[in-house]
């Protein structure tokens, strides 16, 4: 299904991305919000606390924790008693949570966190890239990436719906590029309370900490049984693949807006060159494609919306007829010199009949601006690959040689 962005002008407001997300959280009726401030997530948690102060979020407790580690730890307790839980973080905060990310997923607690993607220290840098959430890709959290404010706002409701589904019960990260989406004002429709009430069921987990039915959470699993726990988490990720599509389709039915499920395709039907990307850079790429198409270049975009679970089949279906694919990454795996989207796409193609060259280009790290010219340069390189094969498989596309 194509992206549907017919927004009712009467319902539109010009708001900051952070405000929109905070509003979405509010109307999703959370029970516990825990927050530790870190740029560029701060406006989200500030807006939420103003909503709390104005009594706009009933049946909710807001915990001003003393670190991100405690932010997520507190939600372990809250989620276990049956509360719908939310937090937001980025970069250093997410890295600090690394230990507990695994714990939350292993305990199958469907906590939702907005990640306002930001580069990771050292060197310290507050601007956008996706190293933070990508570096947590093994932790068992669902990861969805938003293209613009409207999607980031709407994605919050979808994240709760997917995470809390009985066949999933995994925590979810709703990722939005820090500053680029969090601190920018756009005209958009704020998530509608009455429609959310229709779309998102009440959170009613099967097992809770309940004095009337005491249970033990967090027992230790010896070698005889540990593997099966991991297997069941992987199975839940597999179950999430169709649920992500379903959540997006249901969202369209109720709200009239759609951004793709696992992936979204732009001008890919006859594309020879397909660019793959996640997050806000998708907008820039679409503009670039419009310009290049006008010149007759057959280029298209595959927006990857769900990074975890990794939508292998959806990606293959979208790119199988292309002559060259470029995966664009705002992250790097040091020691491999590749971004994760590239590595995982390439690996997923290896044992298949899909045979075109796939290259990786890393851009925008530490918030480096991505002008249309950078994307055009990448498309040129892809065109050369079509002609003469791969010369460089993976590298930075916006490296400043003069600084080296």
């Amino acid at each position: 299904m194509a992206v549907i962005r017919d927004l009712n002008k009467d319902k539109m407001d010009v708001v900051e991305g952070s405000y929109a997300v905070a509003h979405s959280v509010k109307v999703c009726k959370p029970n516990v919000i825990s927050a530790y401030p870190i740029t560029p997530q701060t406006h989200i948690v500030e807006d939420l606390s103003q909503f709390m102060a104005d009594g706009e979020i009933p049946n909710c407790e807001y915990i001003n924790v003393e670190s991100e580690f405690s932010a997520l730890s507190a939600l372990v307790g809250s989620s276990a008693v049956g509360a719908r839980c939310y937090s937001a973080t980025t970069s250093q905060g997410l890295e600090l949570m690394h230990e507990i990310l695994f714990n939350v997923s292993g305990m199958r607690l469907p906590i939702v966190m907005t990640i306002a993607n930001r580069a990771v220290s050292a060197p310290i840098n507050i601007w956008n890239d996706q190293q933070d959430s990508i570096s947590q890709r093994d932790t068992g959290w669902i990861q969805l990436y938003a293209e613009d404010l409207q999607e980031a706002s709407d994605m919050t409701a979808q994240a709760f719906k997917i995470a809390e589904d009985k066949d999933v019960m995994l925590p979810a990260m709703a990722c939005m590029d820090g500053f680029i989406l969090s601190h920018v004002y756009e005209p958009m429709v704020l998530l509608e309370q009455d429609l959310v009430d229709e779309y998102l069921p009440t959170y009613a987990p099967e097992y809770t900490l309940d004095t009337k039915n005491p249970l033990t959470f967090g027992a230790f699993a010896d070698p005889e049984i540990y593997t099966e726990f991991r297997y069941l988490q992987q199975k839940a990720m597999d179950n999430a693949l169709p649920k992500i599509e379903e959540a997006a389709n249901d969202f369209h039915k109720v709200f009239g807006r759609y951004y793709g499920g696992l992936v979204d395709e732009y001008e890919t039907e006859d594309a020879e060159i397909i660019l793959m990307a996640m997050g806000s850079v998708v907008g820039t790429i679409k503009d670039t494609i419009d310009g290049l198409r006008a010149k007759g270049v057959k280029v298209g975009l595959l927006k990857v919306r769900s990074f975890r679970p990794f939508p292998v089949e959806a990606i293959h279906n979208a790119i199988k007829n292309a002559k060259v694919v470029v995966a664009i990454d705002k992250n790097i795996s040091l020691g491999l010199n590749e971004g994760a989207l590239f590595t995982e796409t390439k690996a997923s193609l290896y044992n298949t009949n899909i045979d075109m060259p796939v290259i990786g280009r890393m851009i925008g790290h530490g918030g480096r601006d991505i002008p249309v010219s950078t994307i055009e340069k990448i498309v040129d390189e892809a065109a050369n690959v079509m002609k003469s094969g791969i010369s460089v498989e993976s590298q930075y596309a916006d490296l400043k040689e003069e600084l080296l």
């Binding site: 029970n31 516990v32 825990s34 049946n59 909710c60 407790e61 915990i63 001003n64 924790v65 003393e66 670190s67 580690f69 405690s70 730890s73 507190a74 939600l75 372990v76 307790g77 809250s78 989620s79 276990a80 008693v81 049956g82 509360a83 839980c85 230990e99 507990i100 714990n103 305990m107 900490l209 309940d210 004095t211 005491p214 249970l215 033990t216 959470f217 967090g218 027992a219 230790f220 699993a221 010896d222 049984i225």
Partner: protein, 292 residues
Amino acid sequence: MSFLFEAGHRGCAGCCDAMVAKFVLMAAGEDCIIISPTGCLEVMTTPYPESSWGVPWIHSLFENAASVASGVEAGLKALGKFEKTKVIAMGGDGATLDIGIRGISGAFERGHDITYVCIDNEAYMNTGVQRSGATPFDASTTTSPAGSESFGNQRPKKDMPAILAAHGAPYIATCSLGYPKDLIKKVKKALDVEGPTYIHAHAPCTTGWGFDTSKTVEIAKLAVQTGLWPLYEMEDGEITSVKKIGKQKKPVEDYLRMQRRFKHLFTKEGGDEELKKIQVLADKNIVKFGLE
């Protein structure tokens, strides 16, 4: 017949953690939720699929019991289920005052209505008796062993009750498994007081301290009777009651001699001087808390 803390757990014979947990549950009754950090208590009571806990219980990580307890309290309040349910974080000294200090500081500063019980057996027992911030002066542990150049741990115990009093905790009490009725009474009081309350329970560990399994209670009493483990209550930062030792006062040797972790003080050259230092610590407590 069933107990709130059941038999069949893998605690050592004479286990101090088991005793304190049992007493705490006797004080709390079935309307409570327990949050434990990683440690002996957690490991010995919950090998999947078995659990010794007859009340709702959750374990997350080593350093976050207080944070998880904060979340349990907030979740119950948000859902309108808080009422009379007691939220109790219960775990060891390492998890409380070393790696967990960030979490407990935050929880107490925010003033959650929880009770935190620290079972202080004075080392990281579950991982093999390594030194913690609660290890007393001159105790030999596996990472602060006595040796030809060392008398063991050279630092004093971290004064956790004082730290939490500074956080404005309305009720703090030290207790000992050697005085179980006193312990139960203090836990009941802590549970009744609104706000973050703290119980610091002395728990002699037969395996880690090196004494016969039958001596757990006896040694706990001796710690109190020497003045090394003062029993007191603090309300809003002021000491409001102490257990006087009076005629029961014993010299520190009576307590130290029974434990392998202090044996070097009796066999190594210079041990006498060390014993005197420890007696000074005990005497200071007696003066400071008015235990005479």
